[in-house]
């Protein structure tokens, strides 16, 4: 009977139970979050352009915020939406919210309610939520044509014609910009079907960000906040500490962990091959 040779250290490393890896990640994230390290963000050009676009707004301008995320991406989209709404309210800009994702309807409504109380924003007069829509494309086309007839009423059942925030608004052409906070590919629809004068600002999850650089290059999107990391940059521009700032240690050190892990896995495989050949 052949004797089983003992595993080399590299083979043991490669055969490690994945549950130890899960535990390592979990504990590492806890440590990273608790690290008393504060590194200032480097403001990336897309975030700077996003900020500058909102800074150019005047009090009384009206903005559409399309909030299409659910709790599955809450860690990335919530910091973005909070930072953006705070900025809009600081600028005393009117805004209207809408959702094409069912959960986002209530999530964004509750979030906006909470922040509105902080800034003294009055529902109906300074901001409203139009509710949920199943089809974004026809909703955009409808709102470009006749916004009150498309929207009909807000989430509280108030007819659009009676909403003070929509005074003087006939269609999307009267809006200054649309801010799309989304984990899915909805921004191409805003780009494609909006009135030409409407500026598009984009708040994607990090997964969708790389694809959007072509829109940034062509000017179809004016600015972009990428995930929680982008939210940290935006919070720094606003001078506040929000969720993006609280998450950033976890994000940046987990990147280092991932890189080291990839290198370690490849090293183990390489050394195992070498030792086998030897």
């Amino acid at each position: 009977m052949q004797e089983m040779r003992p595993l080399t250290v590299w083979e043991r490393m490669l055969a490690i139970d994945r549950r130890w890896l899960y535990l390592t990640l979990f504990v590492s994230i806890i440590v990273f979050l608790l690290l008393p390290v504060r590194l200032p963000a480097v403001i990336s050009p897309p975030v700077r352009k996003f900020y500058d676009a909102i800074e150019r707004l005047q009090p009384g301008d009206i903005v559409m915020v399309s909030s299409n995320w659910s709790a599955s991406t809450i860690a990335e989209n919530q910091p973005q939406l909070e930072a953006v709404l705070r900025h809009l309210m600081r600028k005393k800009v009117r805004f209207t919210l809408m959702s094409v994702e069912a959960q986002s309807r209530d999530i964004s409504l509750r979030l906006a309610n909470r922040l509105a109380k902080e800034f003294g924003y009055e529902y109906g007069k300074d901001w409203v939520h139009f509710g949920f829509y199943t089809d974004l494309i026809v909703a955009i086309k409808g709102m470009t044509n006749d916004l009150p007839a498309t929207v009909k009423q807000d989430v509280k059942g108030t007819p659009a014609s009676q909403l003070e925030v929509l005074k003087g608004v006939k269609s999307l052409k009267d809006y200054k910009m649309v801010i799309d906070v989304t984990p899915s590919s909805t921004v191409p629809y805003w780009i494609s079907y909006r009135p030409k004068n409407l500026i598009v600002l984009y708040c994607p999850t990090s997964v969708m960000a790389a694809e959007a650089y072509t829109f940034l290059d062509s000017g179809q999107i004016e600015g972009m906040i990428t995930g929680a990391k982008g939210a940290q940059e935006y919070e720094q521009l606003l001078g506040i500490v929000g969720l993006g700032t609280r998450f950033i240690n976890g994000i940046q050190f987990s990147h280092v962990l991932i890189i080291l892990t990839i290198l370690l896995g490849n090293l183990a495989l390489f050394m195992q091959r070498l030792s086998r050949e030897a």
Binding site: R19, Y22, F26, I29, L33, L34, V37, R38, L39, A41, S72, T73, A75, E76, Q78, A102, Q103, R105, G131, F132, T134, I137, V138, K141, K152, Q153, V155, P188, Y189, I191, S192, Y193, T205, S206, V207, A210, T214, F215, D217, S218, G219, Q220, T226, G227, A228, K229, Q232, V241, L243, T245, R246, F247, I248, N249, G250, I251, Q252, S254, H255, I258
Partner: protein, 224 residues
């Protein structure tokens, strides 16, 4: 003792937080191994998610766009829902074809709308590509050599990747070399996407752990 009283679920708010923590840890139990605890919460999640969607669907859409107009006497709308219900024949072998009439409406709409999307989404990108200046000129005094170099890199990368994706003819000779380069350049784009994807997924986990540390354990996390 006071801390313990505040920590334990003796108030509605604390009970709610504990509920959230139990949900999180129940889902994470699958990482150890398959177990009935996870299965129970998984099915609870699916049931809640499916049930929740009925509120916005029925009230924000059906009530707003169908019931309300009917209550106000706009009778032509009456036909939309009865005929729209043909969709539910999709489960019937005999009457399943009726659902394809309504699916045809949805497909026809998105197909018809695509022409506008093509014009508004892709043509401006083509315009942007073709208007990139590729040499210094007195007509554009703000242009510097680094912009020109970057524009050339942009065009070369774009053409190489487009060549790689052209499958109408066999890649041979210089075309094959360009397509190979296009594949390498494609890896740069995919690498950027991968880096961002890792960041996104890590952020989701970080959000959950933050909830456990901050909302449940009451640990203050200042941030970077």
């Amino acid at each position: 003792m006071e801390w313990l009283q505040q920590f334990l679920p003796f108030s509605w708010d604390r009970l709610s937080v504990w509920m959230g923590v139990i949900c999180t840890l129940a889902i994470y139990s699958i990482l150890y191994r398959e177990n009935p605890f996870y299965r129970f919460f998984e099915h609870l999640y699916i049931g809640l998610a499916a049930g929740y969607s009925l509120g916005p669907l029925l009230v924000d859409i059906i009530h707003k766009y169908w019931i309300d107009p009917l209550l106000h006497g706009e009778w032509p709308w009456v036909f939309v829902v009865p005929f729209g219900l043909y969709l539910y024949f999709i489960y019937s072998e005999r009457y399943g074809w009726l659902s394809r009439i309504i699916i045809g409406i949805l497909i026809g709409a998105s197909a018809g709308l695509f022409f506008q999307e093509f014009a508004s989404r892709y043509l401006p990108q083509l315009n942007s590509t073709l208007s990139k200046p590729l040499w210094l000129t007195s007509a554009n005094p703000n242009l510097v050599i680094s912009n020109v170099i970057n524009n050339w890199i942009f065009i070369v990368f774009l053409l190489a990747v487009l060549t790689y994706f052209t499958f109408s003819f066999e890649h041979r000779g210089p075309v094959k070399r360009v397509a190979t380069a296009g594949r390498w350049f494609l890896m740069i784009g995919l690498g950027a996407m991968f880096g961002n994807t890792v960041m996104a997924r890590m952020a989701l986990l970080i959000g959950r752990i933050y909830y456990l540390l901050s909302d449940w354990l009451g640990i203050s996390i200042g941030g970077g």
